[in-house]
């Protein structure tokens, strides 16, 4: 098994798919000559040429729209947002055009497009460059939303996204690009809507995804040493959601904590909590809890940034209080 970084896994997925299907192209700011702001498209311009790896000016609304228009007539664009923070100026195109086109046209115009790029909290990038938007996009029927944590998932889910005939919001974690993990040799894909049990346990389920697992997994490890057995579920896919995996785990452990990097109010964790109380209420031994980013724009100061995010310490304390 090869060990790849998260960015290499993404690169491999795009490259393999583009080799197979000439309708696929990659478009975005700095994806070509600069080889990606986070070097995800390294080597791709040399391999596919300027026709299929296209640098754009800074105009997210414009090139998101170009991608959607091209998808209307059967091309399969991959649109990179340098960061998801910049997707906000394209949100009209994503929501009003991409997500609705198939519905409004009664199935005449499916939009097979992937919007991908870096998201989540970053290294002291402050309020405008350090945000998680999974909840925003997950709110919209017609979109699919993915947020992989491991390189293998990044590879397998990106392949599935590229092949899917619907608009997919593929949120990579800025902090994870350099992280390494085993990726099986040979081609494989991972279906959407399938959560992954990262760690089995019996006393409490932590539901999480993407970078937040960096805090969750070590916390679960430490709790195990205290004799508290935590099951960790990586959703990977926010929409569609693996409801069955969540319910099965909670019915087994009888407690649930949701850990996410997004904000608390109307965050996606609230949806998961609703699901658990609705379909696993009788199994619960304590209220469903959440740990999220604090309800503030991201501060710059290192200590404040740290304190605004979920952490091992916060998770450990919360779990202890729930088990008592």
């Amino acid at each position: 098994m090869a060990v790849l970084t998260y960015r290499e896994a993404l690169n491999r997925a795009m490259t393999e798919e583009m080799e197979k299907d000439p309708n696929i192209f990659l478009m975005g700011e700095e994806v070509g000559h600069y080889e990606g702001a986070y070097k995800v498209s390294q080597g791709m311009l040399a391999k596919f040429g300027e026709k299929r790896v296209i640098d754009t000016p800074i105009s997210e609304n414009g090139f998101a729209g170009v991608g959607i228009g091209a998808a209307m007539v059967g091309l399969r664009p991959i649109i990179e947002f340098m960061t998801w923070n910049f997707s906000l100026v394209a949100i009209d195109q994503i929501i009003n055009s991409a997500a609705k086109m198939n519905y409004m046209s009664a199935g005449q115009f499916p939009i097979p497009i992937v919007f991908r790029g870096a998201g989540g909290a970053g290294g002291r990038l402050a309020a405008q460059h350090s945000q998680s938007f999974e909840s925003w996009y997950a709110h919209i029927p017609g979109l699919k939303v993915l947020a992989p944590y491991t390189p293998a998932d990044a590879y397998g889910l990106l392949k599935t996204s590229i092949r899917d005939n619907n608009p997919t919001i593929f949120i990579e974690s800025e902090v994870l690009y350099g992280s390494k993990g085993e990726v099986p040799e040979g081609e494989f894909s991972i279906p959407m809507g399938k959560a992954d049990i990262k760690r089995e346990g019996t006393q409490l389920t932590i539901v999480s995804w993407s970078r937040a697992l960096m805090y969750v997994l070590p916390a679960a490890e430490k709790l195990a040493k205290e004799g508290i057995s935590v099951e960790v579920l990586d959703l990977r896919s926010i929409r569609p959601l693996d409801e069955e995996a969540i319910l099965t785990s909670v019915r087994k452990t009888n407690r649930a904590l949701i850990v996410e990097e997004g904000w608390n109010v109307a965050g996606f964790g609230a949806q998961v909590a609703y699901l658990i109380q609705k379909d696993a209420f009788d199994y619960l031994d304590s209220p469903v809890e959440r740990i999220t980013q604090e309800d503030v724009p991201m501060p710059y100061a290192a200590n404040l940034e740290r304190s605004s995010l979920p952490s091992e310490e916060k998770i450990i304390q919360k779990v202890r209080s729930m088990i008592k």
Binding site: G62, F63, G69, L75, D92, Q93, M104, S105, A106, I111
Partner: protein, 327 residues
């Protein structure tokens, strides 16, 4: 002013263009009536007065070319040859509608005719049109995309981004600003930094054109020049075609922001009356024109009847098409 049609072919051409304009006029009149009877819901933006623009422009296209329209899409759809029956049924929200009752007035789509939709967000569709043109360039299929928008849309970011991308990539795109002088109730002089939207072409170093949109053959001839330029790979054109809507912005707008004198002045330039005069001047019998009107009246009556009698979509269709199926 264009000269009257002289050759037999020219007069026959004009007759066909006139037929399309009349079809739109009668369709719209019937829509207004059905709307006031509560049979059509939502917004309903009529095209009455602007017929020469859509008909003239679309007649300059080939079958393989694409059309992207706005929320005021009835006229463009009919000019492209979409069936009045399925369009009326769509307005009535019936299962037999062009998009099975999912879209309504602002969202006509017909893949078979390369009619790439009526779009409800002002100006949002402009970069989509650039994307369709982008695909034509990518595939080298020689198709041209025609995008209509109003002067109100010329102030939105998507217009400028779409123009710039189309210009740097030399996309086969013809942008037609149907300037009807009012963005809902806001007159152009309160919203536009320039009187003529097409001068903004200079900012993108692309071709421009500006004409009055009351003579259908003139519109066709000018649009043809832009379409051929696009097909030759010489990039986009920004055109302004000046026109006027005789009704309010939508059915809910009594248009009190303009005077009766102004409306009367523009009604003198009604594109249908102009075309009719030209037809008669070129030897076409009044009788033939009246006969056409009768035929169209009957066609519209049938469309309304069809819409009326069609069933509503089954409730089981509610979730259909939220997601496309994977192959």
């Amino acid at each position: 002013m264009m000269s009257q049609p002289k050759t037999k072919k020219e007069t026959q051409d004009l007759f066909e263009l006139y037929r399309q304009m009349l079809l739109i006029r009668r369709f719209e009149e019937a829509s207004a009536k059905a709307y006031s009877m509560g049979k059509i819901g939502g917004f309903c933006h009529l095209y009455i007065g602007q017929e020469a623009v859509g008909v003239g422009a679309i007649s300059a296209l080939e079958e393989k070319d694409y059309i992207v329209s706005t929320y005021r899409d009835h006229g463009h759809a009919l000019a492209r040859g979409l069936e009045p029956k399925s369009l009326m049924a769509e307005l009535f929200g019936k299962r037999t509608g062009i998009v099975a009752g999912n879209g309504g007035s602002m969202h006509f789509f017909d893949k078979k005719k390369n009619f790439m939709g009526g779009h409800g967000i002002v100006g949002g569709h402009i970069s989509l049109a650039a994307g369709i043109a982008y695909a034509s360039k990518y595939r080298e299929d020689q198709a041209v995309t025609l995008c209509f928008f109003g002067e109100g849309a010329a102030n939105i970011g998507s217009f400028h981004e779409g123009m710039n991308l189309a210009a740097i990539w030399k996309l086969p795109l013809v942008m037609i600003c149907e300037n009807n002088h009012y963005a809902m109730g806001t007159p152009e002089y309160r919203a536009l930094s320039v009187k003529d939207v097409s001068v903004r072409a200079a900012a993108y170093d692309i071709a421009r054109d500006h004409i009055e949109g009351d003579e259908v053959r003139k519109v066709r001839d000018h649009v043809k020049v832009a379409v051929e330029r696009a097909r030759r790979g010489e990039g986009p054109t920004l055109m302004e075609i000046s026109t006027y809507r005789f009704r309010g912005h939508s059915m809910s707008d009594p248009a009190k922001y303009r005077t009766k004198e102004e409306l009367d002045k523009y009604k003198q330039g009604d594109p249908l009356i102009k075309a009719e005069k030209d037809l008669i001047g070129s030897g076409w019998a009044q009788e033939e024109i009246s006969k056409l009107d009768e035929t169209i009246a009957k066609q519209i009556e049938e469309a309304v009847d069809f819409a009326e009698k069609s069933e509503e979509p089954p409730l089981g269709w509610l979730y259909k098409h939220v997601y496309a199926e994977n192959m």
